[in-house]
């Protein structure tokens, strides 16, 4: 376990020094600040954008719309950002040769993949938690209410678990691919499949895509009984992707 700890420290140093953490935090924080403001002043923005002859009636917006706007933004741009940040995590090291140097020391192939995944997940979790709190504070300030903190965490948890499975697919793509461009392509394909998985007839409600569509409902306290199964199935898929990455990586000659 010593080598896992040391490699995690190295990964964290990389995340900080290559500014991945700041970029991810910046992107999420940007949408966390922007979403409540856009929602609050939506009617004014529309009025400014149209002339006097056009009459568009905009219903009054609420704190729920603010969360809806936030999750709507980060469910696409946030996920794309996550893919961009971590698509080269394994392929980049294989391509450059730094993986060969590390793996000829006392670190297993399993440790290499697991630590890469955990470090990426920690970086993402840190960023989304801060963004969630920012959005909560702005929504509260602009609407006078932002929902219960526990519900906020449920929404964040749903989005995070979806992103954990996306990260595991990104690590898998990065392991399969010989270079970062191919890893990016595979990761984007994985993202599209995951996002649309809730549309699969019959089992769609148990698949990761459902988490993305339920984030707003969870944020204001609406929970469907199946959601726990969606969480479990998504975590199992993430674990399988990590496991598969390890097995494939062990078979690769670097």
């Amino acid at each position: 376990m010593n080598s896992y700890r040391v490699f995690f420290q190295k990964e964290w140093m990389e995340i900080i020094r290559t500014k991945k953490l700041y970029i991810l935090m910046g992107v999420f924080a940007f949408f966390a600040m922007l979403s409540p403001v856009i929602t609050r002043y939506m009617s004014e923005i529309i009025a400014l954008a149209t002339d006097d002859l056009m009459m568009i009636t905009v219903p009054p917006t609420t704190w729920i719309d603010s969360w809806s706007q936030f999750y709507g933004n980060i469910s696409q741009i946030g996920c794309i950002c996550v893919i961009f940040m971590f698509m080269g995590c394994v392929s980049g090291e294989k391509q450059s040769g730094s993986a060969a140097l590390t793996l000829t020391k006392n670190l297993t192939y399993t440790g290499f993949i697991i630590v890469k995944y955990i470090a990426a997940a920690v970086c993402f979790t840190f960023s989304i938690l801060i963004a969630g709190l920012i959005c909560y504070a702005y929504t509260y300030y602009l609407f006078g209410y932002a929902g219960k903190i526990s519900d906020l965490f449920m929404g964040i948890a749903a989005y995070s678990i979806f992103t954990f499975v996306l990260l595991s697919m990104t690590v898998l793509a990065s392991t399969i691919a010989r270079n970062t461009a191919v890893a990016a392509l595979l990761s984007f394909c994985g993202f599209i499949v995951l996002s649309l998985s809730n549309l699969v007839p019959g089992i769609g409600r148990m698949l990761p895509g459902t988490l993305l569509s339920k984030t707003v409902e969870l944020s204001h306290g609406i929970q469907s009984p199946d959601i726990i199964w969606t969480f479990i199935v998504t975590i199992i898929i993430a674990a399988l992707c990590v496991f598969l990455s390890i097995r494939l990586f062990e078979r690769q000659e670097i």
Binding site: S3, V6, K10, T18, S96, N106, T108, Y109
Partner: protein, 309 residues
């Protein structure tokens, strides 16, 4: 006990044998030069020895301990690939600290080891990020990281390729300083460095061993009753060449306009005959001496002198 032993080591890709039934015995504390044309199987062999490539068949033993593909017990080896790439956002000290900690080295012992190595490779006062390092500096850092765990054996894959003469000299001096303490197994195309540094030479061709011997033995085996004749001017060389063509009993290989390699059963008889011939033709001789082939000559002779595809 040998530092490196392999028995029947083979690596096959489909029907192509990258390494074919390799049996190695490299003595502890020696410096072994691993030669071969591009594509001969050198890097594949080193990758199998370091656990980065899975042998198709055969066994590897390093310092008496059997080695398997993917093993994470690398405490007794060090490795430097042909194009080392480090984490550019770290300093040399931070990188060595990371490497040492992967071997569970901690505290004062690790710090002292890092200080020693940085001094040894001339990077002690360099606090810049590795991304700013020159190729030579990276190569020296590569050797330092390979030595951080005080290994029994280090594998260096073309450590001097693409270095300028100064960088090459620095790295070779460093390698020579390891003699006796650590077994060094290094591949290269620069044969003069092997000749000046190595105790033992392995020549690989199409995955098979062509030679596995000390340099002295290799030279003796390939000396085969030859002498080198040096003349003063190219004009003398032309005249001698024409003379030699008339005499059927002389086997002459021309190396340069003024230098000839001559072969005969008896070098004493040859010497007298050449002396007589040159006197008759009024050609002045600069020198005549028994010819010892260089490692380049032996390598070219053994590998057929044809560049790899």
């Amino acid at each position: 006990m040998n530092a490196i032993e392999t028995k029947g080591l083979t690596k096959r890709y489909g029907t192509y044998y990258a390494v074919d039934n390799l049996n190695l015995n490299v003595a502890k504390g020696s410096i072994c030069g691993f030669l071969g044309k591009n594509g001969a199987g050198k890097t594949t062999t080193i990758k199998m020895l370091t656990g980065l490539a899975k042998p198709t068949s055969g066994a590897i033993s390093l310092s008496g301990v059997g080695r398997k593909y993917g093993s994470n017990n690398n405490s007794n080896i060090g490795y430097l690939p042909d194009v080392p790439n480090f984490y550019g956002y770290m300093t040399a000290r931070e990188y060595l600290n990371f490497c040492g900690k992967l071997y569970a080295m901690e505290g004062k012992r690790l710090k002292a080891r890092i200080d020693d190595l940085l001094k040894q490779v001339g990077l002690f006062n360099d606090n810049k990020n590795i991304s700013t390092f020159s190729r030579g500096m990276k190569q020296r850092l590569g050797i330092a990281q390979a030595l951080i765990n005080e290994p029994d054996v280090i594998f260096l894959d073309e450590p001097i390729s693409a270095l300028d003469p100064i960088g090459r000299n620095e790295v070779m001096t460093l390698i020579r300083s390891l003699r006796g303490n650590i077994t060094v197994f290094f591949s290269t195309h620069i044969l003069t460095d092997v000749e000046n540094t190595c105790d033992h030479v392995l020549i690989l061709e199409k995955g098979k061993v062509l030679a596995d011997d000390t340099i002295v033995n290799l030279k003796q085996k390939h000396a085969d009753n030859a002498a080198i004749l040096r003349l003063y001017t190219p004009d003398d060389g032309n005249r001698f060449s024409a003379l030699a063509q008339e005499k059927n009993d002389l086997t002459v290989e021309s190396h340069s306009p003024t230098e000839f390699i001559l072969r005969a059963d008896n070098l004493n008889v040859l010497g007298k005959r050449i002396s007589l011939l040159l006197t008759e033709a009024d050609i002045s001789m600069e020198s005549f001496q028994a010819y010892t082939p260089s490692l380049d000559d032996i390598f070219i002779e053994m590998t057929g002198g044809v560049a790899s595809e």
